[in-house]
């Protein structure tokens, strides 16, 4: 990260089991720090509303409901769920926050992989899908239509929080900032003076020295997903493990969308990702597919959307 040496500040805060950072360029260091902490306070507040690991969060309260019950939730959880519904529809179910039951089939409590039976998978699939969540806009209530639905905002919560932090920084008249959550969700506000944007690199997870894209980020978000060691990704549509990809990135208008899409792009086929980017001109994607045999078949790097026209690339 290259920053203008004068007036640049960097603040960090732990939340959502990762580290968030805010980079700003501002003449008043104390003011910039107070603004960053106000944003971190908002982040902590959102985590208390959205985390399924906090026993009285809105999401935990929803996960405790029985089929048919409904619950009034705060604006953050409601908006986030609205977004999830939209992303579920746009990705034909590839982005699904109710995948918990399916995950439990494939991954045991000791976090090792196991092979579930057809019956187990069929049962879990009955607890999966956004059609099981009904949002009532007038009442601000959420109703679970099936039993055993487990909501996990892990694929969108960081991005959503970053968007809200950006909004708050805007209220504080902070126009130039870069916010990231655990390096995987990044949003740029403005650009450092005298630059084309906040410089950001996307590297090949198979060979991190190989830079795939270097871009100048300005008023847009980029998010990355990958297959981390000991972690598994399941396609909610087929209930099967996804093994063909190393990583996926999504570039889009806001951090929540980018966050959700990078998760979905890990699951969607390259053709589906391509179609998505055709239909949404404000979204770009890059994926790295895994070669089946490193000797004969190499990893493939696929880019979708108008990367070259965007003037982003270095």
């Amino acid at each position: 990260m290259v920053l203008t040496p004068t007036g640049s500040h960097r603040f960090c805060h732990k939340a959502m089991t990762t580290t968030f950072e805010i980079f700003t360029v501002h003449t008043d260091a104390r003011y910039a720090q107070q603004a960053a902490w106000a944003a971190f306070d908002e982040l902590d507040r959102l985590e208390r509303e959205l985390s399924r690991f906090i026993e009285n969060s809105d999401i935990s309260r929803l996960n405790n409901l029985t089929a048919g019950q409904s619950l009034l939730v705060g604006p953050a959880a409601f908006e986030c769920l609205q977004l999830c519904v939209r992303m579920y529809a746009e990705t034909n179910g590839a982005f699904d926050i109710t995948i918990g039951s399916l995950m439990d089939c494939w991954v045991g409590k000791d976090k090792t992989m196991r092979t579930p039976s057809k019956e187990q998978l069929n049962l879990a699939r009955q607890h999966t899908g956004l059609h099981l969540i009904k949002l009532d806009e007038a009442q601000h209530t959420v109703q679970l239509l099936g039993k055993g639905v487990q909501i996990d905002l892990g694929g969108i919560g960081k991005g959503y929080a970053i968007d809200r932090m950006a909004e708050l920084l805007g209220d504080w008249s902070i126009d130039t900032a870069l916010i990231h959550g655990g390096y995987s969700s990044v949003l740029a506000l403005g650009k450092p003076p005298g630059t084309k944007g906040w410089p950001v690199t996307l590297n090949n997870p198979g060979n991190r020295k190989q830079s795939l894209v270097r871009l100048y980020l300005q008023d847009r978000a980029v998010s990355g997903s990958g297959l981390q060691k000991g972690r598994y990704i399941i396609d909610p549509r087929t209930a099967q493990l996804v093994e063909g990809k190393r990583a996926a990135w999504a570039y889009g208008p806001d951090a929540a969308t980018a966050d959700a899409l990078s998760t979905a792009f890990m699951v969607m086929s390259p053709d589906e990702v391509e179609q998505y980017c055709c239909r949404h001109s404000d979204v770009l994607s890059m994926i790295v597919t895994k070669g089946r045999d490193t000797e004969t078949q190499k990893d493939k790097i696929l880019r979708f959307g108008s990367w070259n026209d965007s003037g982003l690339l270095k």
């Binding site: 104390r30 003011y31 720090q33 107070q34 603004a35 902490w37 106000a38 306070d41 690991f53 906090i54 026993e55 009285n56 809105d58 935990s60 309260r61 405790n64 619950l71 009034l72 939730v73 705060g74 604006p75 908006e79 609205q82 977004l83 519904v85 939209r86 579920y88 529809a89 746009e90 956004l130 059609h131 099981l132 969540i133 009904k134 949002l135 009532d136 806009e137 007038a138 009442q139 601000h140 109703q143 968007d163 950006a166 909004e167 805007g170 209220d171 504080w172 008249s173 126009d175 130039t176 506000l189 403005g190 650009k191 300005q218 008023d219 847009r220 208008p253 806001d254 404000d282």
Partner: protein
Amino acid sequence: MSNQKIKKGIDRRSFLRSAAAAGAGLALAPKSFGMKAKSKTTDELNVALLGAGTQGQVLMDTCLKMGRDFGIRFKAVCDIWEGWNQKKVLRKLKIYDHEPAGYADYREMLDKEKDLDAAIIATPDFWHAEQTVACLKAGLHVYCEKEMSNSIEGAKKMVESAKESGKLLQIGRQRRSNPLYIHCGDKLIKDAKILGRIIAVNGQWNHPVRPDLGSPKKYAIDQATLEKYGFKSMHQFRNWRWYKGLGGGPIVDRGSHQIDIFNWFLDTVPKSVMASGGTDYYDKKNHQWYDNVMAIYEYEVGQRTIRAFYQTITTNSSQGHFEKFMGNEGTLIVSEASGTSAIYREEWVPAMKWDEWVKKGYLNKTEATPHSSDDDSSLEVRASVLPTTYDFPEKADKPYHQLHLENFFNAIRGKAKLNCPAEIGYKSAVTVLRVNEAVAAGRKLNFKPEDFKV
């Protein structure tokens, strides 16, 4: 410039409309037209929020999360920071179909709003006594945040005023309504005496260094308004907790909740307190109250002394916050922080003794079964098993303040008794506020029984 741009890109309201249009799984129920015109039902309570800052917003959010059926109507929101706190809260309440009026001055609010049933007060501590007394006199029931007041005299006036008015005054020590705390205090400590003889108590709330609270430049309050309401500057308004005459410092902000648990679980008030504290990290000019404080109380229980230690450190977050009760037979650690409460049996105490409480449903037990079959072998030899652990049957799975607020509203409706009425709140206020006196005095201060009475 760039902010404008991104706002366009992610304009939330228009986005949410398009999200609704996308529709999968969305129930597009039209706003019910009758809702706003609906007249007040007998059970519905009209509520005013005084102080719409961080804590006021938490309490308001919690009231909303009780659900519409609970029947709380926000009719007024009072905050001197009109451009920020007040605006934010009014906007949020509108989303949930409340139509409150906004006020800067609570006196104007009490003049104009004639159908209020209750007030929730979450203003800076030095305003509590005056506002609580005025609201009680105006015939409102009051839920007032801790600390009751920044002075013992102020807290005393509140208790007297509650008695005179015959209205309810609940103090916002929400742990008093927390099912986990109630279970630990009433069942495990008092009923089962599961810890045996309590020897010592230890509580703390430590949190990391942080910068002073700031405020967005474009939303500053004008100087005349600040001074009218007792603040010298925007900085003092945002950081009132650190100023003598406005707040009580970290021992009051943090300790108030936890030292109240000492009194509650030990079922008495202390005989004495000694304390040491100081502003040793921050700048004394804008951190008049002590940034670290350590206090030792002596309680007399059954002619034995129990010493209770409490510390609050504002520049190191080690181990966060908890209250720990240590008996000769076990240790109870209880905390509002999710999933950190625990109970341990002292090794010498036979497991059978606690099994009884497990059977009675006071505790849950996780244990490896001693035998796999019922033959006459002494032991089954196998892979190493984990030692027995205990857990609580009660969960705190509602927003932190929900049950305490519900208790207040239910008491207004005649369906409950207050869990933290003014007189109980006062005892803990005296217990806590005397710490600052003890620090200043530099010696042990003894409490007299009449200190806790109004």
